[in-house]
């Protein structure tokens, strides 16, 4: 597409030219630092005001669902890492849970605690990275350095536990592939101590900044009805007032044992999405603290599973709350070691869908803020 085009690009309704101003179309992406990867947006502008946004997806479509049909269930776990690589433990968990439901596999007590702790650490890590890049998108580079510094400590824990820094492939049906080392609990404690000290400071550093507040408050407002109708989930939906968290309302694993709040926003603007995520980090820390107290120090971390897992004919569905929202796995099986069809429901896919509704009427610069607070991971959208 040309940079400024007279032709109406695909996805836009036919327009009726205005006598006073001239509308034009601007291409943003797929190579653009603010789109967090390779998302392409075609923006209809009137001066600097956004009149409409049409996202073009598929620049990182890696046909994971097709590949899934020729790999066994356990082989498929490593592919879920690469969907939403910032919450890969949760993605692993979702596939494992769907397999467990279908193939009738149980998880021991300690295994459940390991899962929850690792997942909550991952949520912290993911939100820290979001906080870091959110600052950078808006031009505040300090947040980037602080956020990554804190994030590295959690990455080190993961490295200690499973050997990988980013694509973990740690959970298996029935538990996880290995036990956590002895250093795990002390390290988590150390991270929590550090986070408790610095989280308020972090929240203040970016959220308390007047420029950031001016750029976020009242910008990119998403209403509750729209959020539900589009199928938004996670912090994006909760900032708009949708009171739904899979961990609380459809508890999986042992989440029903823990005491935590689900933060909600009032206005559904960018600033609410910011505060909801910061509050979620606090709640994750609360869950982690409870886990440390209650986790059994001994016992099996995994149940014994068959080498070849077969799911009887039928379907199996599981969903989890990743750092970005409702992630679902839908398995259709035909009693063979490989799935007949495997469908991942990715939260980002629905969350990015709202960008036209949210950014309309604001300036181009606000589009960057909106994208930063939606926090999309593009490979998860494209799969």
């Amino acid at each position: 597409m040309d940079l400024v085009s007279a032709q109406v690009p695909a996805g836009f309704p036919e327009t009726h030219p205005n006598e006073l101003t001239e509308e034009f179309y601007l291409n943003m992406g797929p190579q653009h630092p603010a789109t967090h990867g390779v998302l392409r947006l075609v923006v209809k502008l009137d001066g600097e005001t956004v009149k409409g946004v049409v996202p073009h997806l598929g620049y990182i479509h890696r046909s994971i669902e097709k590949m899934a049909e020729s790999e066994t269930y356990v082989q498929n776990i490593h592919l879920t890492d690469r969907l939403d690589y910032l919450s890969c433990h949760m993605n692993n968990l979702c596939l494992c849970m769907a397999v467990e439901k279908g193939a009738n596999i149980g998880v021991p007590e300690r295994g459940e605690y390991i899962r929850i702790m690792i997942c909550e650490l991952q949520r912290l890590q993911s939100h820290l990275l979001w906080w870091a890049t959110f600052g950078m998108d808006l031009g505040a580079l300090t947040a980037f350095l602080y956020g990554f510094d804190q994030r590295e400590q959690i990455t080190d824990i993961f490295e200690d536990v499973c050997g990988a820094r980013l694509t973990m492939n740690y959970f298996r049906p029935g538990g996880s592939y290995c036990d956590v080392p002895d250093t795990f609990i002390p390290r988590v404690k150390a991270v929590l101590e550090g986070m408790e000290k610095s989280l308020d400071e972090y929240a203040d550093l970016v959220g308390g900044n007047m420029i950031i507040q001016e750029r976020c408050q009242g910008i990119g407002v998403l209403t509750k009805e729209k959020a539900i109708s589009y199928g938004c989930s996670g912090p994006v939906a909760r900032a708009a007032g949708v009171d739904y968290d899979v961990r609380r309302d459809d508890p999986y694993g042992i989440y029903d044992r823990f005491d935590f709040d689900v933060p909600l926003g009032k206005n559904g603007d960018c600033y609410d999405r910011y505060t909801v995520r910061i509050e979620e980090m606090r709640q994750s820390m609360r869950i982690l603290e409870q886990c440390i107290k209650e986790m059994p120090s001994e016992g099996p971390y995994r149940s014994k599973i068959k080498t070849v897992i077969k799911i009887p004919e039928g379907h199996s569905y599981a969903n989890v709350e990743t750092a970005r929202g409702l992630f679902g796995t839908y398995i259709v099986s035909d009693n063979k070691p490989k799935p007949y069809r495997l469908k991942y429901r990715s939260p980002n896919f629905s969350n990015v869908n709202i960008i036209d509704e949210v950014a309309k009427g604001f300036k181009v610069a606000d589009l960057v803020t909106v994208l930063a607070t939606l926090d999309p991971v593009i490979p998860d959208i494209d799969r």
């Binding site: 996805g11 653009h32 630092p33 990867g37 390779v38 997806l57 598929g58 620049y59 990182i60 479509h61 890696r62 046909s63 669902e65 097709k66 590949m67 049909e69 020729s70 490593h78 690469r82 690589y85 467990e100 439901k101 009738n104 596999i105 149980g106 998880v107 021991p108 990275l129 870091a132 890049t133 980037f144 990554f148 510094d149 590295e152 990455t155 980013l166 694509t167 729209k226 539900i228 109708s229 589009y230 199928g231 949708v242 739904y244 459809d250 099996p300 149940s303 014994k304 039928g314 969903n319 409702l326 679902g328 007949y340 069809r341 429901r345 896919f349 869908n353 593009i378 490979p379 494209d382």
Partner: protein, 407 residues
């Protein structure tokens, strides 16, 4: 750099001129290698490790490469962080062309080397970035650690320091061979090598057996067996949301032809037997499909206001379109399933009931070729228009793109 490139012609004949040229060479290379400005280009997972390399702990600034530029016109090196797909490859070519000379390419991660984990049974990933643009340094790993990326940058610096005005750098070659399955070749080669090795060591092996006649009695130490138990799945005891039998009664009253998938005779006991995690899966005809979904949304007791996903399954003789709904107020889930004809797959849209269904239906159209009647924007969503097949159909086969897994 035009004038500097003329230096050897002028200076070399002069006594001592070669030293001057060498000094200029050294200076230029020193400057270039220590101020590599990378382009902000990250498509997937590797980009996060690239960011981590730029952050405080690993600090790419130690190598003078911290100035990430958003425009290719200001960049010296492009770090290919992440998978390269067919749709993106055209854009990568443009990016590469826009970079000013001298330009360098670092391929980060397994995907850009060979397609990595996405090599087999994959129709969209380019199997190696060097099929599109010449690559100078490859960094293996999935994703490579920040240390590996730093090592790659150091290798690139070494490469640059070897350049000279007399013989300037030539970019690497672009791989143009067709996509072949090298697995069988590699296995055959390895077996051949092993045979040669076996032959070579055969006399030593015989000698060793002679020297140690009781070698057969030797036993390898046993692997420690982990003390693990088999466990049964423990479903949740308390149901979330409405009871499936209550939902069935509501639905059955209005739509008597609707059935439940996998249950022949619906009774309260039959549904209670399924456990508290059972999600009712209604089977509905194509004519009623749209009206049924609208009913589920608007009825006060079902109240399915949230759409989880719309998807389809290819059962070779038919397609099943599956709609997964949820109620954010009552917290229960309802699945709807509608079988449609395999030869002429068409179904009504529900994108006017749920705004979010728009994209899900486009995805189903893209993958299965199922057309949704009255859909406002029925275009492909992930794949490009030139892609002339629907890949998630079971009969999809495209030898030019797909490499079948040989094992």
């Amino acid at each position: 750099m035009g004038m500097i490139n003329q230096l050897p012609k002028v200076l070399d004949p002069i006594p001592g001129g070669k030293m001057v040229v060498n000094a200029v060479d050294y200076l230029v290379n020193w400057a270039r290698s220590n101020s590599l400005w990378p382009l902000v280009y990250g498509t997937s997972c590797c980009a996060i490790e690239m960011m981590a390399t730029g952050a405080a702990k690993h600090d790419i600034a130690r190598f003078g490469a911290e100035v990430f530029r958003a425009s290719p016109r200001q960049a010296d090196v492009i770090i290919l962080a992440g998978t390269l797909t067919e749709k993106m490859s055209k854009h990568l070519e443009v990016l590469y062309d826009q970079m000013p000379e001298p330009k360098y390419v670092v391929a980060m991660g397994a995907c850009t080397i060979s397609g990595g984990p996405f090599y087999y049974d994959n129709y969209s990933v380019i199997k190696g970035a060097d099929r599109i643009i010449p690559v100078d340094v490859f960094i293996p790993g999935c994703p490579p650690r920040p240390e590996a990326l730093l090592y790659g940058i150091m290798e690139l610096q070494k490469l640059i320091r070897g350049e000279s005005i007399r013989n300037p750098r030539k970019p690497g070659e672009v791989e143009s061979e067709p996509w072949v399955n090298r697995h069988q070749e590699a296995v055959a080669e390895w077996e051949k090598e092993q045979e040669a090795v076996e032959e070579e060591i055969a006399p030593q092996r015989a000698q060793w057996k002679e020297d140690n006649p009781d070698f057969k009695a030797f036993k390898h130490p046993k692997k420690p067996v982990e003390d693990l138990e088999k466990m049964e799945y423990v479903p949740r005891e308390k149901r979330v949301g409405a009871e499936p039998f209550a939902l069935w009664n509501i639905v059955h009253e209005k739509f008597p032809e609707v059935t439940l998938h996998g249950i022949e005779e619906v009774t309260e006991e039959a549904l209670a037997e399924k456990g508290a995690e059972y999600i009712p899966d209604f089977v509905v005809g194509t004519e009623q499909y749209s009206a049924f979904v609208r009913f589920l949304r608007e009825h006060a007791d079902t109240d399915c206001d949230y759409i989880i996903q719309v998807t389809a399954v290819d059962f070779v003789d038919r397609y099943d379109v599956c709609v997964h709904l949820m109620s954010t107020t009552k917290k229960h889930k309802i699945f709807v399933r509608c079988s449609i004809d395999h030869d002429d797959p068409k179904i009504d849209t529900i994108s006017h009931i749920y705004l979010g269904a728009n994209w899900h239906e486009r995805e189903v159209y893209d993958f299965f070729g199922i057309t949704f009647n009255n859909h406002p924007d029925m275009r492909r969503i992930f794949l490009f228009d030139e892609f002339d097949a629907h890949p998630l159909r079971k009969d999809f086969d495209d030898p030019s793109r797909l490499t079948k897994r040989p094992y």
